[in-house]
């Protein structure tokens, strides 16, 4: 059997295709990362070479192999209480402001996308329970989505490594987790507090159902995108939100450079982006 290789031309073709489908842009520095995973998938599917594999991925009606490819190409790095200042901002500023604009008692909707293995939406739930007194008076819906089906299954299971929970205060670990031989199992109350779903944020048909969000957390996703895709995401969020709703991005990400649709709001704990209350 001859060794499978990925030529420059193959890499460019793949990169273009993957970018168009997911918004994720691989530059040349990711060449090794991409080649290695492509070769793994070519072998796993018993394909002869890149060409036959790539044809299959593009024309396969079920999209199963495309999903496998996505699952191997995504970077799922995350942990509990990552960029904690934003959760502080949530409970100290954002939730109360959202409540002050509400005209009825409908639930407050939060969308955490991408979820990766669930640490972010579960951190939001813990923060609300621990630090926001309004949780006694208001219903909150937490939805969380990712393009990677494998990682969503992991999020639903809620089983975590010591590394993933290392920033959690010990009392919270004791309160919300059960120590199990090789890690930590999150309690059922929290598991049932978050609704996980598979969504490709770049697909209009898949995001259409997400609407009336009060707060969107979108952290450490846009770093994998180029400006053109970031602009598309800004459009998608605008349509998914209520007026007056907030978007929280990762610390190195910014909305103001890519979209005029949102207003920059500076809170003591963090800078977030708001869909204006009045129509633009």
């Amino acid at each position: 059997m001859t060794a499978i290789t990925i030529s420059n031309e193959d890499f460019l073709k793949f990169k273009e295709f993957f970018y168009r489908k997911t918004g994720i842009l691989f530059d040349d520095s990711k060449r090794y990362f991409v080649d290695k995973r492509l070769i793994e998938r070519i072998q796993a599917t018993d394909s002869e070479n890149f060409r036959s594999y790539f044809t299959m991925v593009r024309f396969e009606a079920s999209g199963n192999e495309f999903q496998n490819l996505v699952n191997t190409m995504t970077v799922n790095e995350t942990y509990f209480f990552r960029e904690e200042y934003q959760f502080k901002c949530l409970v100290e500023s954002l939730m109360d402001e959202i409540v002050s604009h509400k005209k009825d008692k409908s639930p407050i909707r939060i969308w955490s996308v991408p979820s990766s293995s669930g640490e972010e939406p579960y951190s939001i739930a813990i923060y609300l329970l621990e630090y926001w007194s309004g949780i006694n008076d208001w219903d909150v819906e937490i939805m969380s989505s990712d393009i990677d089906t494998q990682i969503i299954e992991q999020a639903k299971r809620g089983h975590y490594s010591a590394r993933s929970v290392q920033h959690l205060p010990k009392p919270f670990l004791a309160k919300y987790f059960r120590h199990e031989n090789d890690g930590y199992q999150i309690c059922d109350d929290l598991r049932s507090a978050v609704e996980f779903s598979r969504v490709n944020i770049m697909e209009t048909s898949e995001v259409r159902a997400y609407r009336n969000m009060d707060i969107i957390f979108c952290r450490n996703l846009l770093i994998y995108f180029d400006d053109a895709s970031r602009r598309q995401v800004a459009e998608i969020f605008y349509d998914a939100m209520k007026v007056g709703g907030f978007v929280c991005l990762g610390h190195s990400e910014s909305m103001s450079r890519i979209s005029s649709l949102f207003r920059v709001r500076k809170f003591p704990e963090a800078i977030v982006y708001q869909k204006p209350l009045e129509h633009l």
Binding site: V140, R211, R231
Partner: protein
């Protein structure tokens, strides 16, 4: 606990929903003129993947008053990226409306690969603002001829602001090849202290860099 679960439910096609899906091209084009802003945004969104969407989107841009719908159209055109879409975006650069102009510039900067084929035409446009934009976009192009184009600009362009913008960029990407043209530019605009200052800066950067 006050957490409740509700999965985002699929949107059914009802007459009253602004996001309903099953509409053909003609319906969507008609919907671009709908009264409701959200409905117009969704019409833009759903037109985008269809063939020949650019032309009706560009046409709508001329009347569209809502900034959020305009933003949706500009981004849709960037995503489509065909000839009509890019021509529509470039047309915005001539708009009287500064907001629209700036928004179009930002959108075009994000898609340098689509602008590259027309960059030469833009660099020779009769409107100096369009030429300044073209120089600005060269920055994001990463094309092997960027320096050559910039040299041409400072050799020929009569407008001082266009030249100043090109000099700024040359001070970052220029090599020894740009030195004669930079020196010539200083002579051409010898009465202008700003050009002399930035040109000196660029000369120094390039000369220091090449040592």
């Amino acid at each position: 606990m006050a957490f409740i679960k509700k999965t985002a439910t699929p949107i059914h096609c009802t007459e009253h929903d602004e996001r309903h899906t099953e509409r053909d091209f003609a319906d969507l084009v008609a919907e671009l003129g709908a009264e409701n802003e959200t409905a117009r945004r969704w019409a833009v969104r759903d037109l985008t993947p269809l063939p020949d969407a650019s032309q009706p989107l560009v046409a709508r841009l001329a009347y569209e008053e809502s900034a959020s719908v305009r933003a949706a159209i500009l981004n849709a055109l960037a995503q489509i990226g065909d000839h009509a879409a890019i021509a529509g975006l470039i047309h915005c650069l001539r708009s009287e409306d500064a907001g629209l102009r700036n928004e179009a510039i930002e959108v075009l900067k994000a898609i340098p690969q689509h602008v590259e084929p027309v960059i030469h035409t833009l660099l020779n446009d009769s409107d100096s603002d369009v030429r300044i934009f073209a120089v600005n976009i060269l920055e994001s192009l990463r094309h092997k001829d960027v320096e050559k184009w910039l040299i041409e600009v400072i050799e020929k362009d009569p407008h001082i602001n266009v030249c100043a913008t090109a000099v700024d960029l040359l001070s970052e990407v220029g090599t020894e090849r740009a030195l004669p043209a930079l020196k010539q530019l200083k002579i051409r605009f010898e009465d202008d202290p700003y050009i002399c200052f930035t040109t000196d800066l660029a000369l120094k950067r390039i000369e220091d860099g090449s040592q």
